[in-house]
């Protein structure tokens, strides 16, 4: 048998280098090489450490060597992170330099200097490594067509991170654009393992679509922290186990502790420092920290100069930190994929298992952690739902297209609906988006003389930018990631990072808070800079960050329900958990995996209803609001509710007698619109929509407007628009976004469809053991923003005034 026939890669230019390194080709690399060579678009699924990056470059490098001194851009590599893009360059450099191959490659991101970018435009490298935003920008240049006309491959790295968000929409539109410029272009996607591989294929591939998959047979070793302490009923801070966590850090060479929020990261870091008697080197890493601080931590991590890093999802993706020995996940895993991604950050070696320890911060999380471990052993991943494309991203793309030159709207429409997320985009909606870019797209035509793009008189299908100056505005506005209004924190002259404006507004001079692992005292705020000094205070606030609250995945939720019902397992749990569940069984009931337990009991003069949906935080939050309205209708005089990932609790003045009549699909259909209107959810999403669609300008550093004002003015626009033109495309778009992202509409719908037949109603005389965690969470007001404002004003007035000179009726 001719060995070269069985493995064509033995003739590949990189084979020499592989041999030198004593590495051999992976089966998925051979398979990918074959499929791509025979003209297929391919998505490759492989775990970290299985040469994924190289897999993408096998065909391009082979081609480039065969073509000899190919001039111009040949391969485009899209990475989700700037830091990853830089890492790819470093990895590519090794074989190309060592083999002295005649292939040029460069990186282009937001950090590339204008000079270098200009150079790249004039003399493009063979391989360009970039991000979706930089690709969008390249497509908005007048010479885009020439730049891309010889492009042979586009490689999308970490494609699983691109399937369910607006960045994916933006990327999909820009892939179609370069495909138009270069019809022979082939697409290669690289992904971590995914449950719904077919979906990723549909999203990316057009030509003879193929899936190549390499599964890791070595399963990670995950266990739950064995604690002598009591697992708390409620809360998310894991203070109870801090000493045991510290011991675990000491046992390993290098540990990453993952937490779920930035606030938790700061808190965990602070608590570790308080007990750091061995003077371990512990660092903190999260998305709000100044870039340089983050880079420093990442650097120390890869050089092994620290003992432990406390991190949020900011360290989930990215560079390989080969020496990380152990992962500690503090708090609920929330999803299988996410947990796997985190666990995979340790031991980047295919043949040794990753090691991880889960630290539940409350009792429900213990069950969740157990369930997650089971699912991982079964390799049962979460499905990533492909999302339908958002309108605002199309608007931005239309603007970009106009910046590149005049365009025919029919051609553009045909190109856009080739992109998977926009297959169902209606021509009429598309035309409204054209109008949106033209002049805001309002029914009232006030802006005829101020248009941004206009139709040619001789051909009404052709649109053109009115003024080239507008290209600058597009370039300032590009992208789909909208940050919350943030303020810079300065300690002396040093910038520590960014903090949410809302948090700072609630501080007074002299208040202390924790940021970047330090206790800081708030001094003043000037010109959007928050001036702080070091504080010795013990009592301090932790900034809360509104974003990033991940709901429990449906997959894991199902698994939690199944596990809860398995009473034969209970004896293997820590005694306190067993005790908790047994008492629940005696006093009330443990729901079977397809049952929905509802408990009702009186408590402190009020009447409580607890519904265990396991629907995740978003859906439960929505359901809580809807039920509040349902209860009002039945005159139960509801007072409030609290939701978490597992359950909702509502309390009312009167006994809720008709819960089975209220809790069904009708609830959703009847009250959803009202709910969306009354909470600020759609309003908040309208701001993102207005910015992404370039209706209003993005706030950039150095602009005098504070973030709050941008938010404020988009609120004004929202209010005026809602009143005068409720059918406007951007309102529609915001509403769709809300349904998709913020309220878990589909998930809620699925549950409500079947819930009425599956309700197990338990009338109790007092609170049940299972209800304790959520009852403990009742401490915040659950009022809409509007109501809160009025409440604050009224309360304040009553408190300090109490003189009745005030009201009279005209």
């Amino acid at each position: 048998m001719n060995i070269n026939k069985s493995n064509p890669l033995l003739l590949h230019p990189l084979n020499k280098w592989m041999k030198k390194k004593k590495w051999s080709w992976f089966p998925h690399q051979i398979e990918t090489f074959h499929h791509v060579r025979t003209g297929s678009d391919v998505v490759v699924f492989a775990p970290t450490g299985a040469g994924k990056t190289l897999t993408g470059f096998i065909n391009p490098i082979d081609d480039l060597i065969k073509l000899k001194k190919f001039k111009g851009l040949h391969t485009l590599y899209i990475s989700p992170l700037k830091s990853l893009a830089n890492d790819i360059v470093r990895n590519l450099e090794k074989p190309i330099k060592e083999l002295d191959l005649n292939i040029s490659f460069q990186v282009r991101t937001g950090d590339t200097t204008p000079y270098k970018k200009q150079k790249q435009k004039q003399k493009p490298p063979n391989i360009l490594i970039t991000t979706p935003e930089s690709l969008a920008l390249l497509n908005s240049y007048e010479n885009a067509k020439v730049f891309f006309h010889n492009l042979k491959y586009i490689i999308i790295d970490e494609i699983h991170t691109f399937l369910d968000n607006k960045r994916a929409d933006l990327l999909s539109l820009n892939i179609e654009r370069v495909q138009t410029f270069s019809p022979n272009l082939q697409r290669i996607g690289l992904s971590a393992t995914l449950k719904n591989k077919q979906d990723a294929k549909k999203w990316l591939c057009r030509k003879k679509p193929k899936i190549v998959s390499y599964e890791n047979s070595v399963l990670p070793k995950i266990k739950i922290l064995e604690s002598k302490e009591r697992i708390p009923w409620s809360g998310h801070m894991a203070t109870y186990s801090i000493n045991e966590i510290y011991k675990e850090i000491m046992k390993s060479k290098l540990t990453i502790i993952f937490v779920n929020t930035r606030a938790q990261a700061e808190y965990m870091f602070k608590n570790l420092w308080l007990i750091n008697k061995k003077k371990l080197k512990i660092a903190v890493h999260h998305g709000s920290l100044e870039k340089n601080l983050r880079l420093k931590v990442e650097n120390n991590l890869s050089k092994g100069l620290v003992d432990c890093v406390v991190a949020t999802s900011s360290l989930e993706l990215g560079l390989d930190y080969g020496d990380v020995e152990k992962i500690i996940q503090v708090g609920a895993p929330k999803g299988i994929n996410r947990l796997l991604q985190r666990v995979g950050r340790s031991n980047h070696n295919l043949n040794t298992p990753s090691k991880a320890i889960l630290v539940p911060t409350n009792r429900f999380e213990f069950i969740e952690a157990k369930a997650a471990i089971e699912e991982i052993q079964k390799n049962n991943l979460d499905k990533i739902d492909l999302k339908e494309g958002s309108f605002d991203v199309v608007a931005q793309h239309i603007f970009a297209t106009a910046c590149a030159g005049q365009f025919d709207i029919n051609d553009l429409y045909k190109e856009i609906i080739k992109a998977y997320p926009y297959k169902k985009l209606k021509l009429n909606d598309f035309k409204q988006l054209i109008n949106l870019i033209q002049d805001g797209g309002y029914v009232l035509k006030n802006y005829d003389q101020f248009k941004r793009i206009f139709q040619l008189r001789e051909n009404k299908n052709i649109y053109k930018l009115v003024n080239r100056r507008e290209t600058r505005k597009y370039r300032m506005n590009v992208g789909t990631i909208i940050e919350n209004p943030m303020l810079k924190i300065k300690l002396g002259t040093k910038t520590l990072g960014n903090i949410e404006e809302v948090f700072i507004q609630n501080l007074s001079q002299g208040d202390s808070f924790i940021f970047a692992g330090q206790v800081l005292e708030f001094q003043s705020m000037k010109n959007n800079l928050v001036q702080v000094k070091r504080s010795k205070s013990v009592f301090s606030k932790i900034p809360s960050y509104s974003g990033g609250r991940m709901p429990l995945s449906t997959n894991l939720a199902n698994s939690v329900r199944a596990l809860l019902a398995k009473s034969n397992m209970w004896d293997s749990y820590p005694e306190q958990i067993t005790e908790w569940l047994k008492r629940q069984k005696n006093i009330s009931k443990i729901p079977k995996k397809d049952e929905y337990l509802v408990e009702q009991f009186p408590r402190k003069k009020n009447f409580y209803t607890v519904i265990y949906t396991f629907a995740g935080w978003h859906a439960n939050q929505t359901l809580g609001f809807l039920l509040l309205r349902g209860f009002k209708e039945f005159n139960y005089k509801p007072l409030g509710f609290v939701a978490n990932d597992y359950a909702i609790v509502l309390w009312s003045l009167k006994e809720v007698k008709e819960i089975k009549t209220i809790l069904n699909l009708g609830l959703l259909d009847k009250h959803l619109d009202n709910y969306l209107e009354e909470t600020s959810i759609v309003k908040r999403l309208f701001r993102d929509n207005a910015i992404i669609s370039c209706l209003i300008e993005r706030r950039l550093p150095g602009m005098e407007k504070t973030g709050k004002q941008v938010l404020f003015s988009s609120d004004l626009i929202y209010t005026v628009l809602k009143k005068n033109e409720p059918d406007h495309i951007l309102l529609k778009s915001s509403y769709e976004d809300a349904k998709k992202n913020m309220i878990d509409y589909d998930r809620l719908r699925e549950i409500l469809k079947k819930i009425d037949k599956k309700i197990i109603l338990k009338k109790l005389t007092s609170i049940s053991p299972l209800a304790v965690p959520i009852i403990l969470e009742i401490n915040r007001e659950n009022l809409s923003k509007k109501e809160t404002d009025e409440y604050i004003l009224e309360d304040l007035e009553n408190e300090i005034l109490k003189e009745a000179n005030v009201l009279s009726i005209n």
Partner: protein, 217 residues
Amino acid sequence: MYYQLINFGNEEFHAYPNKSLYWKRLNTLIVSDLHIGKSISYAKNKQFLPPYDTKEILNKIFVSLDKIKPSNLIIVGDLLHDVFSTLSIKDQDYKNLSQYMKNTDFTWIKGNHDKNIQIEGFKNFTNYKIEKFLFTHIPIETSLFQICGHYHPKVKISHRGKTILKTCFVHNEKIFILPSFGILTGGLDIHSTQISDVLGKNNLSIYPVGQDKVYKL
């Protein structure tokens, strides 16, 4: 409509949640900083805000005039956002305006935004004196009581761990500042240097505007 009674310069004024001020004794309605046509001005720079602000502001005025039937309407400046603003005023709007002018005297104090613009039927002034009160866009050196606009005042209220920013009427002993009557207008914290340079920091009477009610702090 609910109003808040405000005593300023020994006179009684009524502050309405629609951000207008009524001087009952002289049957005079006072508004400020309407910024009519702000949307047009932004459209000029290709920022396409909803073009309904002019219509809404005028409607708000007309509703007030219908209800209160004042003999005088005083606008303390920035009726218009800029020279392009008149483009957003339609023929029908002009007709309505002249109808209302039959029963109400329109006095237009010029502001920094509209000092060089004319509209038929409006009497223009840089400032306007009634008894011991001077109506002016930006306060000047004078011993009179002044009623002004310009600053679009807002007040930051922290209470029970929450902070909100609300549009407000505000005055000290001598100077009264109206909130902006406009639709797409933002605001300025009354403790910002621009406003405290004028009003000082202490002894302010502050009246935040709520949904249907003007409050008193």
